[in-house]
């Protein structure tokens, strides 16, 4: 057999065997990877809208997904919004929950971020950042308070920035404000319709 045909045969064989193995591994793990992703979103919804029992995806586009959540009586409790914005280094993926009138943010949680460890990464820390987002008035755009003040001194729609990580704090704030505005305009335009107690 000539050298060139041997080269072709060996490379083809190596490629076919490895391709076959990998598609098997892919099929075996795909369901589980997808389940992991869904479970993560499910858990996040429960975190951001306290008492949420069921949720329905009502709107989806790139980096912006809206879920309505209902309590065990089937009443609408509010929205859970999955969104992403540009942070200091990379995308910050987050989810927050609002009431049905979009007047109040229940809670905020960060799902994925690559901010500076020890500084910007504190946006995932409850004590340093997330607790200031609980039960905030969001009928007006939220505002960042810096330097940070005691929790009692914060206004109804003010949240504390993280000292030394203003960019990351602002990124979260801008993402949330932009998502709120987008959600309101989608509802106004009739793209998102909420039907109370429907289909439950």
């Amino acid at each position: 057999m000539s050298l060139s045909s041997r080269m072709v045969i060996v490379l083809t064989a190596v490629g076919i065997i490895s391709g076959g193995l990998l598609s098997t591994v892919g099929i075996l793990t795909r369901a589980r990877i997808e389940a992991n992703r869904l479970r993560e979103i499910e858990e996040a919804i429960i975190t951001v809208v306290p008492g949420a029992k069921t949720n329905t995806k009502i709107y989806e586009e790139k980096d912006f997904t809206v879920y309505t959540t209902r309590n065990d009586q089937g009443q609408i409790q509010g929205f859970a919004i999955y969104t992403a914005g540009t942070g200091f280094q990379d995308k910050i993926v987050l989810m927050f929950g609002t009431d049905a009138e979009i007047n109040k943010i229940f809670r905020l949680t960060i799902l994925d971020q690559k901010e500076t460890p020890g500084l910007g990464a504190k946006i995932t820390d409850k004590e340093a950042f997330l607790k200031y987002w609980e039960n905030k008035d969001c009928s007006h755009p939220l505002m960042l308070k810096k330097p940070p003040v005691a929790q009692e001194e914060l206004g109804a729609s003010e949240v504390n920035a993280i000292t030394g990580a203003t960019i990351s704090s602002e990124a979260v704030l801008a993402t949330v404000n932009a998502s709120l505005a987008k959600l309101r305009s989608l509802i106004q335009a009739g793209t998102i319709q909420i039907e109370e107690n429907n289909g439950q």
């Binding site: 060996v10 490379l11 591994v25 892919g26 793990t29 460890p117 020890g118 500084l119």
Partner: protein, 203 residues
């Protein structure tokens, strides 16, 4: 090379030819993921898995592969095992998979793995290649463990997530940032060369 005793094929990976401290190979994962011990361990395990299985396959099929296409063949073999490791972590250990991000797929281009195939497995028997791969994997694991322990303890005051330094300790954040990786590696390399010189002199 074949005249070396088997035990030496194993131990050379730990000290004399340690992939990190002596060969200075695979610096990208070494520097990038050693900011926490758990990441260091996961990276070591994934790399060891790929290295051991690639060595096994390459040593078994070395006679079939024409030398002109050997690198291409090795890369396909290595990439297959890396993809398996990546999918496995994503399916069963999603938090670790998230932490390591792109560094698992990047094992494909880790010089330790291709280097061992080219320098060793393609010239030695299956058994000897496996012993070499195990030694190199253990050497890599030890190196990452030392690096990540130093960085996590000084950078956050914890080891494997457990608090080891008291509340008096103000974490050196630089240690878990990229410069901390270079500082730690540089100092360790210096210490190892010093020890080695002492050993050489006393011989």
């Amino acid at each position: 090379m074949a005249s070396k005793p088997l035990s030496q094929e194993f131990t050379k990976g730990l000290w004399g030819e340690n992939p990190i401290f002596r060969q200075l190979l695979g610096m990208c994962p070494t520097l990038a993921v050693t900011n926490a011990v758990i990441n260091g361990i996961a990276m070591s395990l994934a790399t060891s898995f790929v290295l051991i299985f690639s060595s096994l396959v390459v040593a078994s099929i070395k006679k079939l592969i024409p030398s002109q296409v050997r690198i291409a063949s090795y890369i396909v073999v290595i990439a297959s095992f890396v993809t398996m490791a990546d999918r496995f972590l994503a399916a069963f250990f999603p938090p670790i998979s998230k932490n390591l991000g792109p560094y698992i797929p990047l094992i494909v281009v880790n010089c330790i793995i291709l280097g061992r195939q080219e320098a060793f497995s393609s010239k030695n028997s299956v058994g000897r290649s496996l012993i070499d791969a195990f030694g190199m994997s253990l050497g890599f694991t030890l190196a990452l463990l030392v690096l990540s322990s130093i960085r996590e303890i000084l950078g956050t005051g914890t080891w494997l997530g457990h608090q080891v330094l008291g509340s008096w300790f103000e974490p050196w954040i630089i240690m878990i940032l990229p410069p901390g990786a270079f500082l730690t590696l540089g100092i360790l390399l210096g210490i190892i060369i010093l020890i080695d010189q002492k050993l050489q002199r006393s011989k």
